[in-house]
């Protein structure tokens, strides 16, 4: 996917000024938060300890990352022994080359896809189309986006959370040339019927992978719609595209992570379908793919191993951080400009795509730590965002006026008398702005700051003045 994170400010401003989007964001706001909270309360009521689960999961993910090279080799050996082919990709282009090669080798004309964020990283649909292979997204949300001119998803688990029922109804009427449906079940049924025919005549299924199990060489897939099962059961060829950080040692470890992932993501106790897939169709089996490929993808991940950002590789892609983020909930996911939005995206995008291409993302956070509190694998997201801000300063990537302002402030701050004079004027200026009020409605030097809130008026004097007065 072409990165557009450098236009974050303009895109965020446009999102704020878009009444349709704002209405849709209000409709969805808080739903995931409530569902997650209820699921965790239920878990506690059953005698479960969600915090202990988070601790165990974070420890498990770190355990794997410490020996990631060996766990990957272990997975590769087990997967190969089960009859799968394991391929490796350094970047998105290599993912596309692999998938197109596989498609050509097996004379594939149509590929059905289950949700994969990595295929978004690679721009896989465009690459397939360019090679004459028809990709069909089958997750309802991803399908809606695909028929809307390949619109990018705005959320990692709820791709069309920014769209309303009306917008989907319009789109289906236009695309399917059927009478307009007004109810969600009717629209879902229509999509089911359209997509069923694609499942049946596709030659290849492409899926992501929630986890890879090293012990057995399997991929674990979690879906609610059943499209994940369709894509991995009906076509002749199945390609799994997944990141190298997704490997877990045992099936027990998988169970631990599933208890966390599902509650954190959708607030369910279990998703409708969890599939552990190992190897190809057996000789006497009626269904299942004859060929299974794993594409293990780096695309920036290897460089995070054992770095100060390694914590980010624990991420299990649940979306809880964006569901709880006041910034994401206000501007939606598109403004972030790349595959991953919200707090996890604001960390991943600069790390995978370059700090200079996502200059505003580490700043697109209030550091309120809601994301850190809900993260199932305890990623200290605010701390990582702060580290990225430090990197920007170190690499001189901040805008010139900010650098000059900070240099100026540093210069003044090192001259106590001048600093005292500055604050003497400053506090009186702010008081004058406030007038008789105890708050400032429009902040003179930075009027944008007070567009949505007031600035508290300071006490009448500076700290130094008050301190000096008390001493006497």
């Amino acid at each position: 996917m072409q990165i557009r994170s450098m236009f974050f400010k303009a895109n965020a401003a446009a999102a704020l000024a878009n009444p349709v989007l704002q209405g849709n964001m209000r409709t969805s706001k808080g739903k995931f938060v409530d569902k997650r909270r209820t699921a965790i309360a239920d878990f506690s009521a059953e005698g479960g300890d969600f915090e202990a689960l988070r601790d165990a999961a974070a420890e498990l993910r770190d355990r794997v990352l410490k020996d990631l090279d060996l766990w990957l080799e272990k997975f590769e050996a087990a997967a190969t022994a089960s009859g799968a082919t394991v391929l490796w990709a350094k970047d998105g282009d290599e993912i596309c080359r692999h998938v197109v090669d596989i498609a050509r080798r097996h004379s594939v004309r149509k590929a059905v896809k289950s949700k994969s964020m990595l295929s978004e990283e690679a721009g896989l649909n465009q690459a397939l189309e360019a090679s004459g292979i028809k990709p069909v997204e089958t997750d309802l949300g991803e399908y809606i986006l695909q028929i809307n001119n390949n619109e990018p998803p705005s959320h990692i688990i709820a791709p069309v959370v920014h769209k309303s029922l009306d917008e989907v109804a319009d789109l289906f009427e236009k695309t399917h040339r059927t009478p307009r449906k007004t109810e969600i079940p009717e629209l879902t049924r229509e999509a089911r019927e359209v997509l069923r025919s694609h499942f049946l005549d596709a030659d290849m299924g492409i899926s992501g992978g929630n986890f890879l199990v090293a012990e057995t060489g399997s991929v674990a897939l979690v879906t609610n719609e059943g499209n994940g099962r369709m894509v991995t059961t009906l076509p002749r060829v199945h390609v799994v595209v997944t990141g190298i950080e997704k490997v877990v040692p045992t099936m027990e470890d998988l169970s631990l992570l599933l208890r966390l992932l599902i509650r954190s993501a959708t607030g369910q106790h279990i998703s409708n379908y969890v599939s552990l897939l190992t190897g190809v169709k057996r000789p006497d089996e009626h269904d299942g793919p004859e060929h299974l490929y794993f594409i293990l993808v780096d695309n920036g991940r290897a460089d995070l191993v054992a770095s100060e950002f390694q914590d980010m590789l624990r991420c299990i892609r649940c979306g809880a951080c964006m569901n709880h983020c006041p910034v994401y909930q206000t501007i939606g996911g598109h403004a972030y400009g790349w595959v991953y939005p919200g707090p996890m995206g604001s960390v991943l995008t600069p790390l995978y795509q370059g700090l200079n291409k996502a200059i505003d993302l580490p700043q697109a956070a209030t550091l309120c730590n809601q994301c850190g509190v809900v993260c199932p694998v305890k990623i200290p997201l605010p701390e990582l965002l702060r580290k990225l801000r430090e990197k920007q300063v170190e690499k001189n990537l901040r805008p010139w006026f900010e650098r000059i302002a900070l240099k100026g402030w540093a210069w003044v701050a090192s001259k106590p008398k001048l600093y005292a004079l500055g604050t003497w004027f400053g506090v009186r200026y702010l008081n004058w702005l406030a007038g008789a009020d105890d708050r400032i409605r429009v902040l003179g030097v930075a009027p944008e700051w007070t567009l949505g809130r007031d600035f508290p008026a300071p006490e009448g004097k500076t700290f130094r003045e008050l301190y000096a007065a008390r001493k006497r």
Partner: protein
């Protein structure tokens, strides 16, 4: 250098891999793989069947409890009649031997096709913690039967209801042999919440799931 070598070499450098510690790390890994340590879990309290039933119903799965296998075909027929569904079903070849005809059901043991409306399966086991069926793919147990038809009827022995996913893994290991191609954990009818986060049943898989628990089996 191949991409495989490139990626693995960089990861090795990052983790500070050297010849000396490789054997040690592999030892740790083997120990972890053999220990199969379980994460923190809710305690297994109460009656497993009652819990399975409660959790299943919360997922919109309907439950029927019968005493023995011989009454299963008539229980299936009863369910189909209640829902005004035709008594024509595709099912696991494993279940072909039961007397479906006596209950008026036209049963075909094979993999499912698009036109099939009712799919009848057994289950490897079931999970009380979440109201989940565990289905293994295979020659006699094709995965498509629980996927393509609009209605999925599953039969499970009460003695095969276990507490959690971990017990299912243990049963699977005890069974021996290679893992089946697909281990499918099925929890209620397929659903989507993609449009305005409104849950709709019957996305791509079944609209309804009915489980018949056999207590005497």
């Amino acid at each position: 250098m191949t991409s495989r070598e490139d990626i693995l070499t960089r990861v090795r450098e990052k983790v500070g891999r050297n010849v000396d510690d490789t054997a040690l790390a592999r030892g740790d890994m083997e120990a972890w793989l053999n220990t199969r340590r379980q994460g923190p879990r809710p305690p297994a309290a109460g009656d497993l069947l009652a819990r399975f039933r409660e959790k299943s119903e919360a997922l919109s799965t309907s439950i029927d409890i019968v005493a023995e296998w011989s009454t299963v075909p008539s229980a299936v027929a009863r369910y189909l009649a209640e829902r005004s569904l035709a008594k024509t079903a595709v099912g696991w070849p494993l279940l072909t031997g039961h007397d479906w005809a006596a209950a008026g059901i036209a049963f075909e043991g094979r993999g499912a096709r698009d036109a099939d409306r009712i799919g009848i399966t057994g289950a490897f086991c079931a999970i009380a913690e979440t109201g989940t069926l565990v289905l293994l793919s295979g020659h006699d147990t094709p995965a498509s039967v629980s996927l393509l038809p609009e209605t999925h009827v599953a039969v499970v022995a009460a003695s095969r209801i276990v507490m959690g996913m971990e017990e299912a893994w243990n049963l699977l290991r005890a069974k021996g042999g290679a893992l089946p191609r697909a281990v499918n954990f099925v929890s209620g009818p397929s659903r989507t919440g993609d449009i305005e986060q409104t849950i709709v049943l019957g996305a791509h898989g079944p609209y309804q799931v009915h489980v018949i628990v056999v207590t005497g089996a």
